[in-house]
């Protein structure tokens, strides 16, 4: 170890890996992972969110987690986004590509992608 820069490099490399334990969780992305969700392809969606949030360096603030069945199995994979001081957004029939778009526009940009939400699905 010769310099602060080297130490900082190790810290940065590790930051991602420990963020999961220290995240504020101000924003929670919850993926439905019951039998219906998994069968409909929730796992790639969950992975896309985990990777996308980590790549975007948002791990300090956003946690990606999972939940059971919320009862609208027909519309799985379902993803809910909880934000502080804001009503939750429910996305339905998600895919990995849609997940990337949600990260880009909603999580980073701040405006929900309305065409994927439950309201647009016309229940």
């Amino acid at each position: 170890m010769k310099s602060l820069a080297e130490l900082q490099a190790i810290k940065n490399k590790m930051a991602d890996k420990v963020a999961i334990r220290t995240s504020s969780g101000n924003t929670r992305i919850v993926v439905g992972m019951a039998t219906c969700g998994i069968a409909a392809g929730a796992r790639p969606v969950l992975n896309a969110f985990v990777e996308g949030i980590s790549e975007a360096g948002l791990g300090d603030d956003v946690i990606v987690t999972q939940t059971g069945c919320i009862g609208i199995c027909q519309y799985e994979p379902v993803v809910e986004v909880f934000e502080k001081d804001r009503e939750k957004t429910t996305y339905v029939k998600m895919t990995a590509d849609k997940a990337k778009e949600v990260i880009e526009k909603h999580i980073k940009g701040g405006s929900p992608v309305t065409e994927y939400t439950i309201g647009a699905a016309q229940l």
Partner: protein, 610 residues
């Protein structure tokens, strides 16, 4: 891609309740479900809530599972990790709120629970958060940044000034200002100086230092290197008990990793500063926690103290200037450097800054490790964090400082805990053992217990301690045997004060404290033993009598069968009480060994002790 971390406690408490088997089962289950690429298992140090171990925390949700068994693991994997449903029955959710106001487990984070709410973790900040066997995780939590800061931005005098300004006092028991100790050592002129870590934790019921060493070993190494720079030492020694195998193992790993990274060794961070650390295992003698005895033992001699002065800061290890600090003291230092003296001094009370770790044991619901700001009241520790005394019993007293300290009676439960208040009460901070006692504890018996400990552990070098503590113990035994006289109380006090003033080291100087403090606060119990020949708490065997209530006894003879001394028989006249079919039984007091087996076996509550 890792989406979840499962932290499993690998501290001594949880390891002995089976956390290793849990980690193995977890790995197996994750593999079977194909989750081993997504979920990472992390072995951590102590979370503090040892009572509820083995403990597991699942992130990112932060769900806290307590008392996990190997059989629970498949359910946690298939429900929580696969499907995201929290296993409510295992989740620890004691927030101290009323049952109906309770939130679901998913919404309760660790910091909401009554046990953690009032805690402020400085020394324990990484315990239960990082993997203690990974230097990278320590660095991720700003590890070794303080060492970099002192080496590149601060002069040794700046470092010492920061320590002085912070108001940090030694956490090992004495409470001597750390900065002053360093100042003396720096002022001593010598080519060779030493930095020593005292990890010879010997108080019964204390495990603060063990938890830091097991949960965050690098913090001790970093702090010792900082001190080395401040006083001009290039060598450090950690004196740790051989009875702490997990701590020893993790210290060895940490030292090796620090060497690999060049954070110990020559020219650290490219500066002229070089520092190395060695371990010395102690054989577990209590006296070796005393600094001069510790240094003698590190040198390879029999662990016996020597008179001070000269203090180690002037003449210590191998006759060279040496500073000796306790593990918990070290654990505070890197953060004081990084966050500043003002930050540290903003916590605590006027004369006692910062936080203190306590190992809370005894008659308390949440046995474990807590770190609280100085000035927190005993009531908050016992009733809120500790969850109170179990089985609806009444709190009677708490012993601080183990065999060297004294007791705080229930009447003083609202006293803020800091060095000065404890000294005023005739107690001492000690290293942080806090033993809670309920109404079933006999204070004379308790004093006797601690005296037995010091008699065993007295090194024998000086006679006030070697002979004096033995005589104290004999008087206490006489009292608990029911043979005490009132003048014994004066003898106890007189002898105790002689031992305090004449003993060579702190072991002897503090050994009479449990006697003096119980005499001060619970003199009536001593008097009950002596005058009434009665033990109010029902503990001292020779003053107890088991008797059978003739009217309640149904004559079933269950007690008779279980009595090891054949002391129970049918009443001499063979009298049968009205409404009963069999003659009642009686205990022959001359044969009774007072084991209590009769009382335990009676189904009708007909036997009582008084």
């Amino acid at each position: 891609m890792i989406r979840s971390h499962v932290l499993v406690c690998g501290g001594t408490g949880c390891t002995s309740s089976g956390s290793k088997a849990i980690r193995e089962k977890l790995a197996e289950e994750l593999k079977a479900k194909g989750l081993d690429e997504e979920v990472k298992i992390v072995q951590t140090g102590c979370f503090g809530l040892c009572e509820h171990g083995p403990i597991m925390i699942v992130y990112p949700e932060g769900t806290f599972y307590s008392r996990v068994t190997v059989e629970d693991v498949p359910e946690i994997v298939s429900e929580h990790l696969l499907k995201g449903r929290i296993v409510e029955r295992l989740a620890y959710t004691d927030t101290g709120d009323k049952e109906e106001e309770k939130k679901p487990a998913a919404e309760i984070s660790l910091s909401d629970t009554a046990f953690y709410k009032k805690q402020n973790r400085v020394a324990l900040r990484n315990c239960g958060v990082i993997n203690p066997e990974s230097i990278d995780e320590y660095i991720a939590m700003d590890g070794y940044f303080a060492l970099n800061k002192v080496l590149t931005e601060m002069t040794p005098d700046d470092v010492i000034k920061t320590m002085l300004d912070s108001g940090l006092r030694g956490r090992g028991g004495g409470g001597f200002p750390t900065g002053r100790k360093w100042q003396f050592a720096k002022a001593s002129v010598s080519d060779k100086k030493y930095v020593v870590c005292n990890a010879d934790e010997g108080d019964p019921g204390a495990f603060m230092d063990r938890s830091v060493l097991e949960g965050d070993p690098h913090v001790v190494l970093e702090a010792m290197a900082i001190a080395g720079y401040a006083i001009g030492a290039d060598e450090g020694w950690i004196y740790v008990r051989a009875e702490y195998p997990i701590a020893v193992k993790r210290l060895n790993i940490a030292i090796e990793q620090a060497h690999e990274y060049g954070l110990l060794g020559k020219n650290i961070f490219g500066t002229d500063f070089s520092f190395d650390i060695h371990l010395r295992l102690g054989a577990g003698a209590f006296v070796c926690g005393e600094e001069t005895a510790l240094l003698t033992s590190v040198e390879g001699n029999r662990g016996e103290p020597r008179p001070r002065p000269p203090f180690p800061a002037v003449k210590g290890l191998w006759g060279q200037p040496t500073i000796v600090n306790n593990v918990e003291t070290w654990a505070n230092i890197p953060q004081i450097i990084l966050k500043g003296a003002d930050w540290f001094a903003s916590m605590g009370t006027e004369g006692s800054k910062g936080t203190k770790v306590f190992a809370v044991t005894g008659k308390i619901k949440n046995t474990g490790l807590v770190e609280i700001p100085m000035g927190t009241t005993l009531r908050e520790i016992v009733e809120e964090i500790g969850g109170g005394v179990p089985n609806g019993k009444k709190f009677k007293a708490a012993q601080t400082g183990g065999p060297s300290g004294g007791c705080i009676p229930a009447s003083l439960i609202d006293t803020p805990i800091d060095y000065d208040n404890l000294t005023k009460m005739g107690c001492m901070m000690g290293s942080g053992g806090l033993i809670v006692m309920d109404e079933d504890t006999c204070m004379v018996d308790m004093a006797k217990f601690f005296l037995e400990f010091t008699v065993d552990e007295s090194c024998g070098k000086c006679s006030p301690c070697r002979i004096g503590t033995m005589r104290l113990l004999e008087i206490l035994k006489k009292i608990t045997d029911g043979k005490g006289e009132m003048e014994d109380l004066d003898k106890l006090e007189e002898l105790a004060n002689y031992i305090k003033s004449a003993s060579l080291c702190a072991l002897g100087q503090t050994a009479p404290n449990p006697v003096l403090s119980t005499l001060r606060f619970f003199r009536d119990e001593y008097i009950a033993h002596i005058v009434e020949k009665r033990c109010p708490a029902g503990v001292c065997k020779n003053l107890l009598q088991y008797t059978i209530d003739e009217d309640k006894c149904k004559g079933c003879k269950l007690c008779m069968k279980n009595c090891p001394g054949n002391a129970i028989s049918i009443n001499a006249a063979g009298e049968v009480k009205e409404g009963k079919k069999l003659p009642y039984l009686v205990i022959d007091q001359s044969k009774c060994v007072k084991c209590g087996a009769c009382m335990d076996n009676c189904k009708f509550g007909a036997i009582f002790k008084k």
